[in-house]
């Protein structure tokens, strides 16, 4: 008993360390387990997050509206939103153009754009930098579901990872656990885009090291629609670097993301 008392701190540390390993194991086996904890923390901290977000937005708004020219700010806001919508429409139309060129005389192509778009504000990011995620101010009550694609006017942002009634967490394209079916828009080469934790580049994997699988520098990369999650034709990025792996089956291709992941403020969630 004296031995236990003398070594109580050591035993406590060993017990807690073992508990943390066991919790990690349970989290991997039952992925919904950490989400319950996130919901509890989110329920308590979301009001504070929104308060801080609103304070920053209000300060920025006051600075722009009253210190600088008032009408210019309003016009700029309107044009920014219109620009986002027009960029998204333009990207869709470009993909349609390529599709029509291939199928013009044989098929009647019918575009399926029945996705409803829900606009949401980004109110925070992963506080521990453990994963590349953002938190938005829309949730189940707004018709959002897990797995819904998330975009903005410049291109693909990611997908909804977990959510509660009023908020959602979006897994960004830059997270390594994010895998997107993609293809190069000109050469129509298929591959999988994966994140690397870096906001500067993504990897386009599983492009064969053969003459039949060609990609070009600067070429646009869009979603292929083959993964069943993301609609076809959403801009992902641009081919940045191509390295032929002489000993391997696949090329090493880097893709510059289409959007600036460090400055996302507004997103659109595509729902059925």
């Amino acid at each position: 008993m004296d031995l236990l008392k003398r070594n109580s701190n050591t035993l406590l540390v060993v017990f807690l360390f073992g508990l943390s390993l066991q919790l990690s194991s349970v989290s991997i086996k039952y992925p919904s387990f950490p989400k319950y904890g996130w919901k509890l923390v989110s329920f308590i901290t979301s009001p504070v997050q929104e308060l801080i977000h609103e304070s920053i937005e209000t300060t920025t708004f006051v600075w722009n509206k009253y210190i600088w020219l008032q009408s210019l700010y309003e016009k700029n806001q309107f044009l920014e939103l219109e620009n986002q919508e027009l960029k998204y429409e333009k990207n869709k139309l470009l993909e349609l153009k390529f599709e029509n060129q291939r199928l013009s005389s044989l098929l009647q192509y019918k575009e399926n754009t029945t996705n409803k778009q829900i606009v949401a504000n980004v109110i925070g990011r992963d506080p521990s930098n453990w994963s590349m995620t953002i938190k938005i101010d829309k949730g189940l009550n707004n018709g959002i579901l897990i797995g819904n694609p998330v975009i903005n006017g410049d291109g693909l942002v990611g997908r909804v990872s977990h959510l509660d009634d009023t908020h959602s967490v979006v897994l960004l394209l830059t997270d390594p656990s994010s895998s997107i079916g993609a293809l190069s828009q000109n050469t129509r080469t298929n591959g999988i885009v994966e994140g690397t934790f870096s906001s500067e580049f993504l990897r386009l994997n599983f492009v064969e090291n053969s003459l039949s699988s060609q990609v070009e520098l600067g070429e646009r990369v869009v979603t292929s629609g083959l993964d069943g999650v993301f609609p076809k034709g959403i801009l992902v990025g641009y081919i940045k670097d191509i390295k032929e792996d002489t000993g391997g089956l696949f090329k090493n291709i880097e893709v510059t993301p289409a959007i600036n992941f460090r400055k996302i403020e507004t997103v659109m969630i595509l729902t059925e």
Binding site: S8, N9, L12, V13, L16, F17, L19, S20, L21, Q22, L23, S24, S25, V26, S27, I28, F33, P34, K35, G37, W38, L40, V41, I44, T45, V48, Q49, L51, I52, H53, I56, I123, G124, R125, D126, P127, S128, N129, W130, S131, T133, K135, S161, H162, V169, P176, S177, G195, T196, F197, S198, S199, R262, K263
Partner: protein, 165 residues
Amino acid sequence: MLKTIVIYIIFLIFAVAIQSNLFTNKILNNSTPDLFVILTVLSALKFNNEKSIIMSFLIGIIADFSTGLIIGPQAAGHLAACLFTISFSKNVYSNRLFSLAIIISAAVFVKEIVSNLVANFFFPNDIFSDRFSFVLSTLPYEIFFTALIAPFFLRILSRKVISNN
């Protein structure tokens, strides 16, 4: 003791909100100061016994919950940071600004390394290697910024904690 717990909980809530909102996009290289480690170091310096060990473990659990990805690695990391602080603070004047900065810097380093090593057992190798490269690239900035703001938060919190004990 109850008031101390309430102060810690309030600070944790604000830590989650501040770290996920105010500090992001504003700091170099996508790194943020770690307010959770500041709280762990404070509990280690002030209590220096089994209470600080349990509190640091719980702080790590809250940090894991706020991610919603995996529970356990950050709890282990905070536990290691607490043990390091308890043993290291015995040999330094921990009420000096420079000493505090050194303790905080080392605690952040220990916490990141231990939590990533624990996570290594549970993540696939390719994700882990990307993650470890990312951690190594952001760690110097994280250590610097945390050490920069830590004395401010530690002074305020330690006054509140002492006055309630």
